[in-house]
Symmetry: C2
Subunit: 501 residues, 2 copies
Amino acid sequence: MYADRIRHPALQQKLMPASDAASLFRDGMTVGMSGFTRAGDAKALPLALVERACREPFSLTLLTGASLGNDSDGLMANAGLLARRMPFQADAALRHKINNGEVMFIDQHLSETAEQLRSGALHPVDIAVIEAVAITEDGGIVPTMAVGNSASFVQQAKQIIVELNLSAPLALEGLHDIYVPQPRPGRAPIPLVEPGQRIGTTAIPVDPARIAAIVVTASPDSPSNVLPPDEETDAIARHVIAFLEGEVAAGRMTEKLLPLQAGIGTIANAVLHGLTQSSFRDLTMYSEVLQDSAIELLDSGQLALASASSITLSAAKHEHFLRNLERYRERIVLRPQEISNHPEIVRRLGIIGLNTALEFDIYGNVNSTHVGGTHMMNGIGGSGDFARNGELAIFVSKSVAKDGAISSVVPMVAHVDHTEHDVDVLVTEWGLADLRGLAPRERALLIIERCAHPSYRPALLAYYEEALRRGGQTPHVLEKALSWHEQYWLYGSMNYKNLSI
Amino acid sequence: MYADRIRHPALQQKLMPASDAASLFRDGMTVGMSGFTRAGDAKALPLALVERACREPFSLTLLTGASLGNDSDGLMANAGLLARRMPFQADAALRHKINNGEVMFIDQHLSETAEQLRSGALHPVDIAVIEAVAITEDGGIVPTMAVGNSASFVQQAKQIIVELNLSAPLALEGLHDIYVPQPRPGRAPIPLVEPGQRIGTTAIPVDPARIAAIVVTASPDSPSNVLPPDEETDAIARHVIAFLEGEVAAGRMTEKLLPLQAGIGTIANAVLHGLTQSSFRDLTMYSEVLQDSAIELLDSGQLALASASSITLSAAKHEHFLRNLERYRERIVLRPQEISNHPEIVRRLGIIGLNTALEFDIYGNVNSTHVGGTHMMNGIGGSGDFARNGELAIFVSKSVAKDGAISSVVPMVAHVDHTEHDVDVLVTEWGLADLRGLAPRERALLIIERCAHPSYRPALLAYYEEALRRGGQTPHVLEKALSWHEQYWLYGSMNYKNLSI
């Protein structure tokens, strides 16, 4: 059966129903699953595990590439399956469990999980569950729409379960480039010097004897859930494009720019979409995820090629992508997330990183993860890999949220994911603040003037002026620094004080 | 004159007094000076500039490697010479001006300044002032006890002033390894794969025509001002050694460990000193600075070789080092700080980074720079280069300061330099918290129990328990999160509440 997809004949005998494969798991095991930003995740095994957990409670440490689709994270969390979860998630039900303290969530830089597994800093993976297009003649696993941490999970796991997805066309084979850094000490340089360069194999090498089960599904990836561009994201895109045009005009970059990275989500997708209206040509992407906007830029011819760890598209764009796969084959490379986000490569190529902030403060510190400073949204993802080591770290946000009740520009962020040392450019629909080479006191005035919503500017300026009277490199009024968040907590609006006057 | 030190004959005519060289500077210029952690700084030029500024006020943007010695930073700041200063300083008078807002201080990761100059993100260097042992036959500048950013300053500056220091022995020639990464795009991998490997030249290459002046001095480097180990630093060292022994026992490292980095200052020096009492052998260092402890470990034979960007020693150790230079030549390499701290190399080698925290919070966020959250101490230095990209990020601190009035473990740090994502291990004299693979709620209990001073543990636990009732991934009581800092600000002690009961 499935001879075109199971090309190593002896592996035919490993075919089994997902429910049988689910019986391989033991309470307390560490499991590594494929899946990155709703793409390339195993579909049948999570459901089979949930079913088993309903009969017979047990729990696991679950590692993935990034977020899973198909509500798998939520279903597993609600079944009590997830004791520990890393390095990223984006599921409402799981988020609830995390913020209740029921699931221990370890929020990691996406390039680091594989390194920590390799060094033994994390418990080794017992079972890897990998969605695949096919298994090659010599046992190599061909991933589907994401690579994520799959190659490292396979390298380390005692047992491997392959989930063959019949809905993933065989033509995806050849899109992937699997390279795993050597152990330390004695590691060689990673030979990648161009965004589109291939340095590895098209399948994940594995001794077929380690494949314990093969499960077959035909469930598709969940479509991406990004919202279409709106007036504000259009304005943000215009500011970013004008800034990049200025960089070209100043001779700091050519019109090809440097390789672009764009984080997952609506705003980053909209900014990239905005590039279709720009005059840039021969662009490249070296990103962790490709969204609809990347396909649009490939179609418009402005994007020459794109490297990432996953492809996450809307339903319509997904169909378009698969129908025209031949056209994209030579221009897209999918890599392990350790390579798509690797500090060595990010610094060497000089990535322009574009990521979304939940909020930022008047000195340029960014909160990407914690609503109100305490409650996890999704996780830091790869934003830190790119912001720390790239050429330019651009963070974008709408200036207000909740109909103006929340200002995204605050006196002090209530949680820091990216420090002032790492943040080069901040953008809202009102404007762009270029912080490079500026001291905190200079940053404050620029950020308030360019990025804050006009209704919050007077209060931010008043805070800054009061802080200045206390002095310092980074002036603050400590007893008021988090008062905006407290206001929101107590009264449902950061604007409460102003409204009550 | 000085034929052994000025070996390019035509350069003899560039010899001039420092006061003449000082007349080359214009108001508003950007100046790059050698000097890193009080080593290898120009001695005569800063004084000549101060003298000129007293007659004729003007100001500069000053870039260096890191901190200068000989009170140069303070003298220049007090003469009104410094409009802008980056990327690091450690001078009391300059610090005062910075915190008053009189000098704009840009606090940078030490690996990034050269990159930002190369990309044009910072204003180009007009004049480079480089302390040298000698100028070679073809014009190459041989640095003294530090390389810092000198190679990049020389590459970019329109004019170069060399300060020949006759007190620096000619035998220092050959110690340095000058390699500067290529521009982007098209940069090749940095070929360094072993801590002691030489990949460049022993002098900074330069077209002799660009050397505008040669000034001669014989003033020595300022001795290091680290304090001797004490009971608490001994205890911190014991905890770190026990932890590293545990890593070896668990099979995560061999007895050679991985290359060590230790930040500037008393505590990191004391911890490294403690290694002389350990059973580790064949150690290597890949650090930004070598202090007395590195020389002790080389002398004891436990340290096989050491790579850094500068050597900063006490007066006695400095004399010992120079007297025995031949013995150290083959075991020490001095590199540009861009290479000593480079993300590519730090990740490839898997550095064990050991740096000092001013304070850290119950979730593992570290403040390295801002006293009370607002006032600059020295700067982040290279701690972020190593903590983000290395194998292990260890931060050390005494549990209390100011005779117990300040707890170094707080509910929330008032300034974040290193986020929970980057901090692996925290150590005080009371114990060590290994945070790897732990969620914030798990970290909190461990940090309070292992690291906090016993007199502060009940209050930290009470805070954490109150925060837990509000929930979240990282529970906080926002209106009390910074109250410990406010207490200190108002009453001179974080313990005020407890004392007043």
